[in-house]
């Protein structure tokens, strides 16, 4: 990277291409591996400069796509939301506790949706923190190398399964089990969605936490053992504090994934905007509402249609804040070890 100079497409050594083509034969004993085809090297310098210039600009264009995407997301969400907020005051949107956009009287208080999202994500967070951290400690501190190398990929398969499959699993397997334990549970409930989502984001916590724990130097553990600590004490009093920034970062990442997750909550958590802390009730998450409107017959351009962009904007801001907070936390509390 030290050689890179993007502003100047001219290369210092590209002046005389014929020199390469007609360079004297290499001295005996050395192998002449000419990596550059003679035809490429023999091109006229001006043509090559044009080619270089075109390549750099097309690469720049490619790199700008990601920036344009971000700008596009912000513009699209803001453009539609601002029209919505012209009709519905933003304060009413953020603080209202009734969400009934599809029938009269219309109420646009987003809190029931936020509550639904946070309830499901909270359950998922508890499950994934418990399972993920436990698994990370076992894999990093206890498991022999071979077992670790087998178990880790198996757990990571969980993260690669499409979310619609988890939705199916929650609805057809977990919910019936819950209903046999708590007979008055509704078919669509937050608990089932949260448990399954916790299973989905568990490998995120376990993999990233384990990476952070493995990178804690051996000398810290040895020092603790030398003081007479047991393995559990070493794990919880030395390794976890030393790897805390990585563990917290993985947890934040997992929660932000849970907040933005769509299919599980759409399939299993229901479509009833419901501001409740009872996980056995049916709720509607923000993402599930967006899906509900998009798959319905709501005409484009109507106020109801614009709500999905307002909800989307709120969702975007929530996940953005979490990823910024996660990055800040890592930067603030990271321990560097030599």
């Amino acid at each position: 990277m030290s050689l890179a100079s993007s502003d100047d497409p001219k290369e210092p050594m590209a002046d005389s291409p014929t020199e390469i083509a007609s360079s004297p034969a290499p001295p005996p004993g050395r192998v002449a591996t000419n990596a550059f085809p003679a035809s490429a090297a023999a091109k006229r310098p001006r043509f090559r400069k044009i080619e270089e210039w075109m390549v750099i600009w097309s690469l720049r264009a490619a790199a700008s796509v990601s920036i344009i995407t971000t700008i596009g997301i912000v513009i699209v969400l803001l453009r539609e939301s601002l029209v919505f907020f012209a009709d519905i005051p933003i304060w009413e949107f953020l603080s209202g506790t009734k969400w009934t956009p599809n029938f009269k009287p219309q109420n646009f208080g987003v809190l029931p949706l936020v509550g639904g999202t946070l309830l499901v994500a909270g359950i998922a967070g508890l499950v994934s923190l418990g399972l993920g951290l436990g698994a990370a400690i076992f894999l990093s501190e206890y498991a022999p190398e071979r077992l670790r190398k087998t178990l880790k990929p198996i757990l990571e398969v969980l993260a690669g399964i499409p979310t619609v499959v988890y939705g199916y699993f929650a609805l057809t397997f977990v919910t019936p089990i819950l209903r046999s334990i708590f007979p008055d549970v509704i078919i669509f409930n937050a608990l089932s969605a949260g448990l399954v989502m916790g299973l989905m984001i568990m490998p995120m916590v376990s993999t990233l936490s384990e990476d952070a724990m493995v990178s804690v130097p051996r000398s810290l553990r040895d020092a603790a053992y030398a003081l007479g600590s047991t393995k559990f004490e070493v794990s919880t009093k030395v390794v976890i504090p030393a790897a805390l920034s990585g563990i917290v970062a993985s947890f934040i990442l997992a929660i932000s994934r849970a907040i933005g997750e769509t299919m599980i909550v759409t399939i299993a958590a229901g479509a009833t905007p419901n501001l409740t802390w009872n996980p056995l009730e049916s709720v509607q998450a923000m993402t599930a509402f967006i899906v509900q409107v998009a798959q319905g017959e709501t005409p484009q351009g109507s106020l109801e249609f614009k709500t999905i962009f307002a909800v989307g904007l709120l969702l975007f801001v929530m996940t953005l804040i979490m990823s910024i907070f996660g990055r800040w936390f890592v930067g603030r509390f990271r321990q560097e070890y030599e």
């Binding site: 890179a4 993007s6 790199a63 399964i161 057809t172 932000s256 769509t262 899906v291």
Partner: protein
């Protein structure tokens, strides 16, 4: 040494007796074993969850699998329904997403690794890419719906879906390609530059051929993420029971996960079965793609080590 002397003096006889007394460690052993059990349980619950999910789906879905399931269109009767239209839609979307993603993703990675240097805008792009990787997929669906479907008048077409998925998986492709490019030994690059190659010649003849396996496996993993995505496609394509295969990029389409979702949402029990059968097909495709990516990585990794 003086500090140790001080400490020795500070310890009273009583303290010394307490330290020297053999401690009871039984409860510590018990606690250690208890928590070891908990940690193992955490791993086992994860593995068991995965197994239950797979076995449950297989048991529900296998009876419904068959050639007619692959070769039929959607139907109101579960026994007659098949996945031909969404399967073709998935194939269309996947090919087009690959066509859009590879040049843009690899181009961005080349630019960031080989041309951009350490400018402020490199950092901005890099930060932006890692932020984009955390944006929920449904937000991409909203972007695609507003930008491609409505503003650019593409309609609910294959190309709008593919472009949306391209933006979604682009960060994955870029990050994987960057890692592959970074893994090319800098001695190779220096040798090329020392022989008078321009930077692009160096990239074209040295970096890219070396990095292709890594880039390929990254692209395949990104595409396997793309074909499993339902939420953004749900926004683009809305809910449709298609009885035709997409013929051109402007056609309406459905994809496999979307069809599965439609069936899961049906109340009749038969549709649960074909949903499970659709999941099996989807999982087989994902498994094949992941196996291919791992195979590519292992094959070329070994070659470089030789």
């Amino acid at each position: 040494m003086r500090s140790i002397g001080q400490i020795t003096r500070q310890i009273t006889r009583e303290e010394a007796r307490r330290i020297a007394r053999p401690r009871k460690v039984g409860h510590k052993v018990w606690r250690d074993n208890f928590f070891l059990g908990m940690f193992i349980a955490a791993v086992l619950i994860g593995v068991a969850g995965l197994m239950t999910l797979l076995v449950d789906t297989l048991m529900d879905g296998v009876p419904w699998l068959g050639w007619s399931f692959i070769s039929s269109y959607a139907s109101r009767k579960p026994e007659l329904a098949g996945i031909l239209a969404p399967l073709a839609g998935t194939a269309w979307v996947m090919v087009m997403t690959a066509m859009f993603t590879i040049p843009v993703g690899v181009g961005t990675a080349i630019f960031l690794e080989e041309f951009a240097g350490r400018h402020w805008y490199t950092r901005v792009i890099q930060l932006n890419i890692s932020n984009l990787a955390g944006v929920p997929s449904i937000i991409y669906g909203l972007l695609g719906l507003s930008l491609f479907v409505f503003s650019l008048h593409m309609g609910r077409s294959v190309v709008a879906g593919a472009l949306t998925l391209t933006l979604l998986v682009l960060p994955i492709v870029i990050i994987a390609s960057q890692e592959a490019i970074r893994a090319v030994p800098s001695s190779y690059k220096d040798a090329a530059l020392a022989m008078g190659a321009t930077r692009w010649q160096m990239v074209k003849t040295i970096v890219l051929p070396e990095a292709v396996p890594g880039i390929m496996s990254g692209v395949i993993l990104a595409l396997s993420r793309a074909i499993g995505e339902s939420a953004p496609i749900l926004m683009i394509s809305s809910l449709v029971f298609l009885t035709f295969v997409p013929t051109d990029p402007g056609s309406r389409f459905s994809v496999l996960p979307l069809q599965i979702y439609t069936w899961v949402a049906q109340p009749q029990p038969g549709f649960r079965g074909i949903a499970a059968a659709g999941i099996i097909v989807l999982l087989i495709m994902l498994l094949a793609m992941n196996a291919l990516a791992i195979w590519i990585r292992l094959k070329y990794q070994r070659r470089r080590e030789e």
